[in-house]
Subunit: 300 residues, 2 copies
């Protein structure tokens, strides 16, 4: 039994490797929900959907959200009639989002909905939202003050100075703590430490549960630049260096091992002063072989 | 300037004829909203959409709702994941419904939304919802007690005895009374007198406005059977015969002329005791020529 903590981009790539070599029914993924939002009457749990679509081999690997080969009929008609959506939702993907909103309205919890959806998509892994309660994330910027996370990403294209990242406290979803406790190993994927992983770790009981476990993290950084997204900006805003050194500091209280990229071998001894067990490997997951190789390392 | 009172099936066929021979920008259609409802996070104003799609030459003439040639990707994916909708919504049609719900949530009135949508669809006629407020229609049946109108139509396939039809009082939409007052002629299309036309006429001020006008109605009945839908059951529930005689009685307080079908010529003198001015014509609108011929008669 393993548990993976995941955001929406880097970690799903690692999951593609893990699911090739580890029994899917023994994998639990705990997914960040802090960026969830209602849009166009659907409920967007982007990271959850990306994890689901990854397991179901449906993920659009160009954007790491949405379904590959999806059509955009509803979106195009909405635009034709004067309504433009911030996110580009395909038709099938919209059904996933609409069903979540329909069932939430009927009183289902997010955990129950994800359980239904992942089963219908034929997924054997457990996929657990970090919380069934709405959490909010707000980015405090120098230029525009407090803005929504999706506005930061899309409207402002991350082109502003981040002063602070705020998110509220939410309770763990029912199976979260138990999943960690039952696991032989916990894997923290190469997702954004501040906006994807830290929200999960901040939930009451999670850090305590992690402390007794074999916890291995894959750094999302190579050198001083993040693989994708605005991870660097966020790291700096929290007072961490935007590098694997910063990652080591953030995860230090509960981390057993940290995987850093070959290109960062020069920092190995510096990081080992924080986390004694550092593994240097290729963390740049371009091909399925890269993903499987990295999966082998974290599962070892 | 003419105003047409419309429901969702018979009248749009007549509109197809009228728009061929009368300037579209001088047509106002007042549409029943009593059957509107939220479904799958969209707002379904079925009669309004049918009228819009009719003017835009997009209507699916097989079902008289939805858009011809539409795809069903969202619906199919919803079903795949376990959510079946009572109404079969196509993708483009769903965009119309979603946009209504999005804009209602943003505080737009239904009139404003319809104004936007019909403009975007290139429609020059005015399309006015009878009311901007939610109205409800409930069918009281012998077998199942009080049921929703859409359940009556779809779930129970109209197969129950109707004891009563209930709908609440709603205020007129802002342009409704003025549209009637400005018109040279008001046409009541061959829609269900009880569930489509009577809700419009029951709105405060409408019957008074109609009384001063040249009002011509096309009966939806041939013999004792309605063209389509459960009109007969409803007529009986209200104590009217389900025939053109019943229609004459319902519209009597304000009607100038009634068009009945050739096949009902035998009832002409009986009906003329109620409405002095009866026109016998082909009201069965199968071809575009039928529709134009009937349009010529009502416009004369």
């Amino acid at each position: 039994m393993i548990t993976i903590l995941s955001g929406g981009t880097g970690t799903p790539k690692l999951i593609q490797g893990i699911k090739e070599i580890y029994p899917e029914e023994e994998i639990t993924v705990i997914v960040n929900t802090v960026e969830n939002l209602y849009m166009s009457r659907g409920y967007i749990a982007a990271d959850i959907d990306t994890v689901m679509y990854t397991f179901a081999d449906m993920i659009d690997e160009e954007f790491w959200y949405g379904i590959k080969g999806d059509t955009f009929t509803v979106r195009e008609q909405l635009i034709e009639m004067g309504t433009t959506e911030l996110l580009k939702l395909g038709d099938k993907d919209r059904a996933t989002k609409l069903q979540k909103a329909i069932l939430l309205e009927e009183g289902w919890t997010l955990s129950e909905i994800v359980e239904l959806q992942k089963s219908k998509l034929g997924i054997k892994a457990a996929i657990i939202p970090m919380s069934d309660e709405e959490s909010e994330i707000t980015i405090v910027t120098k230029e525009y003050g407090e803005i929504e996370f999706h506005d930061f990403l899309i409207k402002y294209q991350c082109k502003c100075e981040v002063l602070e990242v705020k998110y509220g406290n939410v309770p763990p979803s029912p199976k979260l703590i138990e999943a960690i406790e039952k696991s032989d190993k916990v894997i923290i994927g190469p997702s954004n430490p501040i906006t994807s992983i830290r929200p999960i770790i901040s939930i009451e009981g999670v850090e305590e549960a992690l402390k007794g476990k074999d916890v291995i993290a894959v750094s999302p950084f190579i050198g001083k630049s993040a693989f994708s997204g605005p991870a660097g900006q966020f790291m700096n805003a929290f007072g961490y260096e935007s590098s694997s050194i910063g990652v080591a500091e953030i995860y230090n209280p509960f981390l057993s091992k940290l995987v850093i990229d070959n290109q960062d071998a020069e920092y190995e001894s510096e990081i080992e002063e924080i986390i004694p067990n550092v593994i240097v490997a290729n963390t740049f997951m371009k091909t399925i072989e890269d993903k499987i190789n990295l999966a082998k390392i974290v599962l070892e």
